[in-house]
């Protein structure tokens, strides 16, 4: 009955030492990769790879027959205006803060009645060429301007087509560097843009989500950019409104909605109805000549970091 304390102690300590010594220190549990599963996966992946070599691969493009063109428009709002924090401006003051002018954060920009600016809405469905309205052919290529003045990027959320050329302008009398840093799809760039000069940015591809554009000389400067293969995107203006014209109808489309602080907008109220746009996606199929109006209300809590 009597177990010597030393043995109890030994046992306890063994457990302690062993558990300490061998504990997994990663807070996210990571089951040791299962060898058999990995082996089977390898075989299946390599089989798929062999088929890929034969077929040359294919993308999951949309299906269906387009019937006409329609419009999606609307407004993004929250309950009342939100104060914007003044950013720390400590360089080139005569250019960046003339007369002591403050630069306010653009993470959330609201109008007097909570109209929400800089909300991005873009089509994620991969579409065939004939789903693109002829009017958009004129802006498929060519230049679009992205400017900076008083050490602020003039377009805070900038959307363009991946086939366009972005003219990075510097309308300041100070030098900037424009550091474009997509994590996928589009190309990276970081170049000095002298005062009054400009540089060209060729996106070279589609970015699936918005990415930051910064200036390292003036660390408070930040904007977001997205480059899309299709022309169906819009960014809400200062009055919170947006409009996407000539959207293909009769075919199911998927759009995605993003705001800098909230990220992809999911819990929203659309035309008075509480809605969950899972991970920011909403699906829609338009009738020919239909104009869909979305009045989207966003909770204030979603707009605080």
């Amino acid at each position: 009955m009597k177990v010597p304390r030393a043995i109890v102690g030994f046992g306890l300590l063994s457990v302690l030492v062993l558990s300490l010594g061998c504990a997994e220190s990663n807070p996210i549990p990571t089951a040791a990769g299962n060898e058999e599963v990995a082996q089977e996966l390898r075989d299946r992946f390599d089989e798929a790879g062999a088929r890929l070599a034969v077929s040359g691969g294919g993308s999951g493009a949309a299906s269906g027959t387009r019937t006409g063109w329609g419009t999606i428009k609307g407004i993004f709002r929250t309950s009342g205006s939100i104060d914007r924090k003044a950013l720390t401006v400590d360089k080139d003051l005569s250019v960046c803060a003339p007369g002591g002018k403050q630069i306010l954060s653009e993470a959330v920009v609201t109008g007097p009645n909570g109209e929400l600016a800089n909300v991005l809405c873009f089509l994620t469905t991969k579409i065939p060429a004939d789903w693109e309205h002829p009017d958009y052919a004129a802006v498929k290529e060519g230049n679009v301007e992205f400017d900076q003045k008083n050490c602020v990027f003039l377009t805070h959320v900038f959307a363009c087509r991946s086939t366009q050329t972005v003219i990075l302008k510097n309308s300041d009398s100070a030098s900037h560097n424009t550091n474009i840093a997509p994590d996928r799809g589009a190309s990276q760039m970081n170049a000095i843009i002298p005062q009054g000069a400009s540089a060209e940015y060729l996106p070279g591809g589609e970015s699936p989500s918005p990415f930051p554009v910064t200036c390292n000389i003036h660390p408070w400067m930040k904007a977001y950019m997205i480059t899309r293969d299709n022309p169906y995107f819009a960014v809400s203006g200062d009055d919170g409104t947006f409009e996407i014209k000539n959207v293909p109808t009769g075919v199911p489309l998927s759009f995605r909605v993003w705001q800098e602080t909230a990220g992809y907008l999911d819990r929203v109220t659309v035309n008075g109805q509480e809605t969950n746009w899972k991970k920011g996606y909403f699906d829609i199929t338009l009738e020919p000549d239909q104009v869909v109006t979305l009045e989207v209300d966003v909770e204030k809590s979603a707009l605080s970091p």
């Binding site: 599963v37 790879g49 030098s175 994590d183 760039m189």
Partner: protein
Amino acid sequence: MMTRYWMNFRTIANAALLVALLGTLTGCGKTPAEFRSNNAYALVLKTLQDGSYQADQMEDLRNTLTALFGTPDQPYVTHLTSVPATNVVDIRNLELAAGPVSSDESGRPQGLYREHCAHCHGLTGDGAGPTAKFLNPYPRDYRKGVFKFKSTPKGAKPTHADLKRILMEGIPDTAMPSFRLLPENELDALIDYVKYLAIRGETERMLLLEMTELDDEERLVSLEDEEKLQETAGTVADTVTTVLQKWADAESQQSVIPAHPQDWDREESIAKGRELFYGPIANCVKCHGDSAQGDGERTDYDDWTKDYFDPKNEKLVKLKDVFVDRYAMMPPRNIIPRNLRSGAYRGGRRPIDLFRRIHNGIDGTPMPAASLKASDAAPDVKGLTTDDIWHIVDYVESLPYESISRPHLPQAENKRERM
């Protein structure tokens, strides 16, 4: 009583020693070497999304990566790609570099990466080997697929020769030594293995990004569900192809650099370079400072740090302590612009190395590419010609020789007299 307790404590202490010894000897049971998951990036991505990956999703990712790239002991390169991996790395090189350190009867070594690199750069190539936290700068984390010192433009991968140059020369003013004494085939093996770790790491990051699209109850991959498996295979194929394509492209992306003009008066060129250095077009002074000692902008971070610590992002600022305390990651350090008076050039001391740093910028850092203009452009067109860049190179090369760059030697009166 006291004695009894004391005896017990001694027994317990001995037992503890014994157990500890036993534990050390057996190494808690031999487990095969495993790559570490990029949990920090996973946490960042999901924090920005106000969620977290599920344990089984992370396990799916580990299995997927093992399927694609094998293990530290048994490297593999997948066939699930439109760009054959063999265009980029030689699997025999990977086998030479991978695995535990050993050699065969003929003296052919094995496990070169673990012998020469892993103690700083880590088994996974995450820049977090056991020595890493004692070094400044920290060793490079390859998993982002970004390399600083190379001959290709921003966003492009380094060429094989670029990486070889780093191994041959080392990186002055850092802990990175030269591996000049290794035979050529071993250097090639190490370079391929570093590429392999970078490809694996970047694929992991890209898949983590793809996984932000998954619902919590959704798996990344399923062997039971054929449709799901093919969908995943499609995503993985696109990802691996994208990563490999960039490496395959690099060899043909070298920037063409015109030779330094022969007939220049050096003093004159240095004076022109100085003017450009402080002028509004090149504007080197903004970050490298009035004194060129790197004191112009010292609050920024490099891109590896900004991945998990962005002082401008309130959600990420809150994670800083989690990373340092719970993930045992290295505390973030500011990226300091180079002190151009020290005479140590990390990316190489040849004039062409300095030219490339100015011409292309430095990937992963705030250093931008110069704003260029054609040599025959009108004088009022803003930008630098390649001649202008050579002037700046000449000026920068002269800086360590200016009298104020010389170290302060002890004054005569302060020297201790020897008795």
